[in-house]
Symmetry: C2
DNA sequence: TCAATTAACATACGTGGCGTATGCGAATAA
DNA sequence: TTATTCGCATACGCCACGTATGTTAATTGA
């Protein structure tokens, strides 16, 4: 049985650490996740972790970068399927709410991430989600669908609204009902961005 | 020099612990704040802390309850000064953004609080801010100023938007400009809630 | 009024988690 | 071949948290 090439082994180690940490962070939370525990479950030790990621925060950054990329992919796929840019914008935000309902994303991206690394807007090379959302808004401005507002500020506002809605729904006694209410209220609110009355 | 009555001594101990923790949490963050350190600075030990608050989380809850009450007071004062309910609603949200720019509130209420205690909407007897915001929205619905949306969902959405805006502004290279952009975009967005075109 | 109990803390102890320093084998470079 | 770097494991010390155990003063109750 031939051994794998060295480069592959290293990449595999990194991947195993990220996967183990991702699972531990999602289920127990960042603070409660013991590095000894989840490195052990990956068949490694903290030595490998410190070598590759520097410290616990560094590993969290790597986990966040991975999840962020996945979220961005999913959002892009959704908005690209829409017939109009506006519908794509709306779909993207509804999808964001649904993603934020997934425990892993809520825990890591919305709760622990900001607390440990600071606000997402200061994360250097990730938050592809925000960039994608900003691009969508800019597109709507350029094609004249919505009013001439600042794209980045609007993207942040809308994103914060959906995020907050998701947290609310997740904790609600009746998530189904909360989801419907939130979606409806969201559509009404963002209709203020439109130049003319909402077409749909 | 007569000693103070017993009840007062106890209340004083609690107040000293909360004040010391509040300062430590705000400046160093919840995770980095050592209980030995800030109880010592208050002239006490961890024994007093565990007796009164159970554990570190319990103390954080007390700190959050205090700050939440202060924020609620400030917001109520602002909205009550406004000429119309809509103007009060807008003022309240602008004020919320400004409050969220204060490092103490950002750190404790917006970053560490949710990470440690879970989302604010699940906090039992606090988040008076949210209740006050919900009441404002309900009032606007009742008087026919805004469309018939769910008050709580709308309050959450709007609050999340302002929160996100504040975090963005705080981390922006040019906070002044960011603040102006965010405020303008906010006004445009929430105008979607109005039944008729924005009066101001 | 005088035990007995409880409240309000302080002290002491054990444990676990983190970071760093060190070691070691394998791969690469010289 | 030797030297050096790389990839990881092992070993150590420290600090912080939680708990168990005092200790003193106030309160109860008979």
């Amino acid at each position: 049985m031939a051994h794998k090439p060295r480069k592959e082994m290293i990449a595999e180690t990194r991947a195993k650490l990220i996967a183990a940490a991702r699972h531990a962070f999602a289920t127990q939370g960042y603070a409660e996740a013991s590095m000894d525990d989840f490195t052990g479950q990956a068949g490694l030790t903290r030595g490998a972790l410190y070598h590759h990621f520097g410290d616990k925060k560094g590993l969290l950054q790597a986990v966040i970068a991975e999840i962020d990329a996945e979220m961005s992919d999913r959002l892009c796929a959704i908005s690209s399927r829409a017939k109009t840019a506006w519908q794509g914008f709306v779909d993207e935000n509804i999808a964001y709410i649904e993603m934020a309902l997934e425990p892993e994303i809520r825990r890591i991206m919305l709760l622990d991430g900001p607390a440990v690394l600071g606000d997402p807007s200061n994360w250097p090379n990730q938050n592809a989600c925000l960039r994608s959302m900003t691009a969508s808004v800019q597109k709507l401005i350029d094609e004249g669908t919505i009013r001439h507002v600042d794209a980045e500020a609007t993207a942040r506002l809308v994103n914060g609204a959906t995020l907050s809605a998701a947290l609310w729904i997740a904790g609600a006694e009746d998530p189904e009902a909360a989801s419907r209410k939130a979606t409806e209220a969201f559509l009404v609110m963002v209709s203020g961005l439109l130049k003319e009355t909402v077409p749909a």
